[in-house]
């Protein structure tokens, strides 16, 4: 990652000073972003944030973080662009199929007896995972009694999610994932296509409530039997992870399940001992008390 502008003050510093200065600037920038727009990235993993900010800095062609701060303070559109950068939207349908297979085989049987199943996809991004969930539950015959709450802090992502339309080229991969995740029907039954997009069945989409929710600042809004939050916490620092895990703990019913991303863990959770590990490799946990 190169800094964009050679004439700028960074050049006069040695690398340690540069780093220190940049840290300070990032602190200020995040504070500014928070105070001006209410988005709190202060407890995101610093390294990732830094990369995103430098990326944005280069894209905006500004010489320094401070300049970037100035720009985002006065230009809401620049801030919006930065926000889009900061929210990573990498997701797939049935991402890590084994995770969904474990869900199908080990979790769903335990949910069957419930009169109503509430599921929370925290950080659903562009909605691929909640739709996968809706499909899976449909195939398990639980479609009617399930409510999927899919949240993300990024309105732009949610807008895409609500459409439920994805690029045709991704669908090949999604079909593979679906099959590996133990799909029992024809994946093609769930969508229709246009020239460039596959659009998911309206009825399926109606099972999912998409709305904006910021894990960093917003509180619990219901009690859930299943919470899925995958590859969101990897962007958080330890403290924030702890807080978010606490939020999940509060939002889970007793006996409810929590599914995390393949590289995430309960290591930072204060309530770690109140969970039972259902599947250590697929990161499925059950709240015991």
């Amino acid at each position: 990652m190169e800094l964009n502008n050679a004439e700028h003050g960074y050049d006069a510093m040695n690398p340690a000073e540069q780093d220190e200065m940049m840290e300070l600037e990032i602190d200020l920038l995040l504070e500014g972003l928070y105070r001006r727009y209410g988005y709190d990235f202060r407890h995101y993993a610093r390294s990732s944030i830094k990369r995103r900010l430098i990326y944005r800095m280069n894209r905006e062609k500004v010489p320094s973080m401070t300049a970037l701060l100035e720009r985002i303070l006065f230009d809401p559109q620049a801030a919006e662009r930065l926000l889009q950068d900061l929210s990573i939207r990498v997701t797939e349908m049935f991402r890590d199929p084994s995770f969904f297979l474990a869900l199908r085989q080990r979790i769903i049987p335990k949910l069957r007896t419930l009169p109503e199943i509430r599921i929370w996809h925290a950080g659903c991004s562009t909605g691929e995972e909640p739709i996968s969930m809706a499909i899976l539950l449909e195939e398990e015959g639980l479609g009617d009694k399930v409510k999927i709450y899919a949240t993300d802090m990024n309105e732009e992502a949610l807008r895409v999610a609500r459409k439920g339309a994805y690029r045709l080229s991704s669908m090949q991969n999604y079909t593979k994932n679906y099959l590996q995740a133990g799909g029992t029907m024809e994946f093609s039954k769930y969508y229709t296509t246009t020239e460039s997009e596959a659009i998911f069945d309206r009825e399926l989409m109606q099972r999912i409530l998409f709305f904006q929710h910021n894990l960093v600042m917003d509180r619990s809004f219901n009690e859930f039997h299943l919470i899925i939050c995958r590859n969101v916490m990897i962007y958080f620092d330890e403290r924030l992870q702890q807080e978010v895990l606490h939020l999940f703990y509060e939002s889970l019913s007793i006996g409810g399940f929590l599914g995390l991303g393949s590289n995430e863990s309960m290591l930072y959770a204060e309530e770690g001992n109140k969970y039972r590990t259902i599947d250590a490799s697929e990161k499925w946990y059950q709240k015991l008390r």
């Binding site: 939207r89 590859n231 916490m233």
Partner: protein, 912 residues
């Protein structure tokens, strides 16, 4: 008694017993002596006396016998027993006398016997002997006749017999006495035994009691200590000074020692127990120093842990107990610095008893006290100092304290090490977790960037393609337009002709209707009722409106068709207001409005334009103005436009030396909202849907004005304020004739411009909706956007001819090139013939080689590892689908095939 040793006690006891035994023995011996004496007495006295009495009798007998023998015989030999008897008698008498001298009765009796004896001798014995010797036999006979001696003898004999009886009696009484004494002795003996036995028991009890009680105390004590919950608070109470008390004291000492040991052990284990299940070294240290200080009664404690800071080992304060506000003691201490540093270096416990004044003080809320002793001890792990504790107290640290510290620091070292190791492991775990997450985040970011890049690329490509396509399209459009213009011209002509004819055809009957209804309304013959008259008027008015509409439509269609002829001719500008007044004064009067005409004098008198069309424009504007004005005025103004106005309307290209005319109509009506101003000039548009309901009209008027003014080389524009009024202004040039040909050219030019502008109104997209146009376009277009499958090559492998036929039919309509095969082998053969196949539709149940095998075969060919193969299966079983996927199908679709679904699938699997 308590002062005596057990030996003494036992000895004294035995001595006492022996003394008693002796005493009783003495008593008994005395008793036995008495009895012996008695026996002896009985033996000596009674037996002796009897014997002596008997010998006395014998002696007497001897004397009597001797006397008689002598007397009888006269032999002197017989005198000898007499003599000896007499002396023996004397002797025995004395003996007897001696024997019985203590009994006066006996003595007197013996004396009597003696007397009798003496008497016998004197009266019988001796005289007889003498008589014999003298031979006086008569006297002897006489004597024996009298026999005085016999009397004495009998008396003696009776006395002796009574003596013997007495003696016997005496002996008897003595034996009785002895028997009695013997009985007493027995009783005494038994009594003494009982007494002695009692004494012995008493003594034994006393002595044993003093021994056993202490022993029992000791035993109990030892038992209670040996028991699990050893109670070290009790001690054996020492009541005596004997060996047992020594034992008790020794026991107490032992207990003391044990208690110390126990304290050390329990305190140590308490401290260590407190330190269990702690995850962090800080907390562990705090817990340790706190419980240690409490256990030792220390008032102050600090724990330093050896850490590595930049390679140098440094002792950092980890925990403190009662240290001044938690700040006493250095935060960091270098190795060898001060006592603590030295201790860390040497690994030896150090103790300070003389505390220097500047040393730490123990602080309570009310006082500061200097401690009496300070102890610094190392904590080691595997013989390596890993931490140091410093303790200070108001008391002195005893040996047991030191032992306890030693006992506690060793396991604590291990604990601390374990916890630190665990923390390290945990930290590493966290680190690795963080790194894993970081990696994941990075990979996601990368993915996102890749995605963005791809998107950007795609967009660029798309733009490129679009640009290319646009160029193509533009070209096509140009060609199309040319063709279209031709067609349009034709169709426009047809339309206009049609409209013209139509309106003519419409107008003829309408005219008759109008005339007749007017006649009816006049009711000249007065045979219509008032009501009927009114109906006729309504028919007339409605017909008139219809006629106007038809005229308007005709005008507009003519303009659009370019068929409106413009006839430029000289016009007298001054006439225009008069003519307008003529037409509208009456209207103004009817609506009670003021009609003002302003005329700028500087205007040229003669103006070259199509007067008729200009009139039409102005009429339209004025009738609009009157229509929408309820009160106030309508002003018509004729003036020269400013340069600015001309420029802003981009009319300056026409600006020649020629004069321009600005004709404006101003009203005080309802005005037009800003957003509606643009649309009012469109055909059939009014500012508001409601307007037409209220004011009537077709909405063609302004449209016609716009078209006409354009034909006249000018423009019409509006200026309005809602609720205040509107001003419509027409600006037209004067077009003086430059000779015939020039005028003709101008005319053509104007016509063409009007035509092309009219064509522009409709967009190509709109045209495309038209089926005919589409068909035409399709001829020109070669590939793609609208037919995503065009040009794709699809292999259909199915043994069901109907199916193949159906699929072929459908797919070929989409422009797909379909290659059919009837079984797997054929399919493989086709595939090798056409390596550029884009997609395979594979039936599963086929003869020769079924779908599963075929798919597997295809996948075995490396070139086709990514070829999309869609399995067609008539079975809805899950296993079948799984089987499909196992062998390598990309996706599956069940028969009967839903076409939409098939197209969706094909889109997905053909997308790149």
């Amino acid at each position: 008694m308590n002062r005596l040793s057990i030996r003494m006690k036992i000895i004294i006891g035995y001595m006492l017993l022996l003394a008693c035994l002796l005493l009783s023995m003495v008593g008994i011996t005395t008793q036995i002596d008495t009895i012996e004496r008695e026996v002896r007495f009985v033996a000596n006295r009674v037996v002796g006396a009897s014997d002596l009495a008997n010998s006395l009798e014998t002696h007497l007998l001897d004397m009597e016998t001797g006397q008689r023998g002598y007397v009888i015989t006269g032999n002197p030999t017989y005198l000898e027993p007499y003599q000896s008897g007499r002396s023996s008698y004397e002797e025995d008498y004395m003996k007897l006398m001696e024997l019985v001298k203590d009994s006066p009765v006996e003595v007197s009796r013996l004396e009597r016997i003696y007397t009798y004896t003496t008497n016998w001798i004197q009266e019988a014995g001796d005289p007889v002997i003498e008589m014999k010797r003298s031979g006086d036999t008569l006297e002897i006979v006489k004597f024996f006749n009298d026999d005085v001696g016999k009397q004495y003898m009998d008396k003696i004999r009776s006395e002796l017999s009574s003596f013997r009886e007495f003696e016997q009696e005496l002996a008897n009484s003595r034996v009785l006495e002895m028997e009695k004494q013997g009985t007493i002795l027995k009783v005494v003996l038994y009594a003494q035994f009982v007494l002695l036995a009692g004494l012995a028991v008493l003594l034994a009890w006393l002595i044993s009691r003093s021994v056993v009680r202490t022993l029992r105390d000791v035993t109990w004590m030892i038992h209670s200590i040996a028991a699990e919950s050893g109670d070290y608070s009790k001690r054996v109470v020492v009541q005596s000074k004997d060996e047992i008390s020594e034992l008790a004291m020794a026991t107490n000492q032992l207990i003391d020692m044990h208690a110390e040991d126990y304290w050390i052990k329990s305190a140590a284990s308490e401290v260590l127990r407190n330190c269990q299940d702690i995850d962090t070294s800080k907390e562990l240290s705090q817990r340790f120093i706190t419980s240690l200080a409490r256990a030792l009664d220390a008032s102050y404690g600090i724990l330093y842990v050896l850490e590595r800071q930049g390679g140098n080992p440094v002792l950092s304060r980890f925990a403190s107990y009662a240290a001044e506000g938690g700040t006493a003691g250095e935060e960091r201490i270098a190795l060898g610095e001060g006592l603590v540093g030295q201790c860390a270096l040497d690994g030896i416990v150090m103790e300070l008893k003389e505390i220097p004044a500047e040393h730490v003080s123990i602080v309570s809320s009310v006082s500061k006290i200097r401690p009496r002793s300070v102890l610094v001890a190392p904590i080691k792990y595997k013989n390596r100092v890993i931490a140091v504790i410093e303790l200070a107290g108001l008391g002195v640290f005893e040996q047991q304290h030191r032992t306890m510290i030693r006992d506690v620091t060793e396991p604590f070292g291990t604990m601390l090490n374990t916890v630190e190791n665990r923390m390290e492991i945990e930290r590493l775990l966290h680190e690795s977790q963080t790194m894993t997450e970081e990696l994941q985040a990075q990979s996601e970011e990368l993915q996102m960037q890749q995605e963005e890049l791809r998107m950007t690329n795609e967009q660029l490509e798309e733009q490129n393609r679009n640009a290319l396509q646009k160029t193509n399209e533009l070209n096509q459009i140009r060609i199309e337009l040319e063709q279209y213009a031709l067609k349009l011209e034709q169709s426009s002509q047809y339309k206009s002709e049609f409209l013209a004819n139509m309106s003519h055809e419409l107008r003829t009957p309408l005219n008759s209707m109008l005339i007749l209804s007017q006649m009816l309304a006049e009711n000249a013959e007065e045979h219509l009722s008032h009501e009927e008259e009114e109906y006729a008027r309504v028919i007339y008015t409605a017909g008139k409106d219809l006629l106007n509409l038809i005229n308007d439509i005709l005008d507009l269609s003519k303009v659009e068709a370019g068929k409106l002829d413009i006839v430029i001719d000289a016009m007298n500008t001054a006439e225009l207001p008069l003519q307008m007044r003529l037409q509208f004064d009456q209207v103004a009067e009817q609506k009670d409005l003021e009609f003002v005409v302003e005329y700028e004098d500087s205007l040229p008198d003669i103006f070259y334009t199509d007067e008729q069309r200009l009139h039409q424009i102005v009429r339209n504007l004025l009738s609009n103005a009157f229509k929408f004005t309820e009160q106030g005025s309508v002003t018509m103004r004729l003036a020269k436009p400013s340069e600015e106005q001309l420029r802003s309307l981009s009319l300056h290209q026409y600006a020649s030396d020629e004069a321009w005319l600005a004709l404006s109509v101003q009203d005080t009506g309802i005005g037009i909202a800003e957003d509606k101003r643009a649309i009012i000039f469109e055909a059939f548009q009014q500012a508001d849907g409601r307007t037409s309901r209220k004011y009537g009209g077709t909405g063609l008027g302004l449209s016609i004005c716009r078209e006409l003014s354009r034909l006249l080389g000018g423009k019409v524009f509006v200026d309005s304020e809602e609720g205040v009024g509107s001003t419509f202004t027409v600006i037209i040039p004067s077009l003086p004739p430059k000779g015939d040909t020039a005028a003709e050219e101008d005319h053509v030019l104007l016509q063409a411009a009007a035509a092309s502008e009219a064509a522009e109104i409709e967009r190509p997209e709109v045209l495309m909706r038209d089926a005919e146009q589409l068909a035409m376009l399709e001829l020109v277009e070669d590939a793609g956007v609208h037919r995503p499958f065009a040009g794709k090559r699809v292999l259909v492998v199915d043994d069901d001819i109907r199916n193949v036929f159906a699929l072929m039919n459908i797919l070929e309509k989409e422009g797909v090139e379909v290659i059919a095969a009837h079984d797997g082998e054929e399919g493989l053969a086709e595939l090798s013939k056409h390596p550029d196949i884009d997609l395979v539709l594979m039936d599963i149940m086929m003869p020769v080689m079924d779908g599963y095998d075929t798919i597997q075969e295809i996948r075995n060919i490396s070139a086709y590892s990514d070829l999309p193969i869609i399995a067609l299966t008539a079975k809805a079983m899950k296993q079948d689908r799984e089987r499909c996927l196992e062998v390598g199908a990309s996706d599956y679709i069940s028969k009967p095939i839903n076409l939409d679904q098939l197209f969706s699938l094909m889109r997905v699997w053909l997308s790149k």
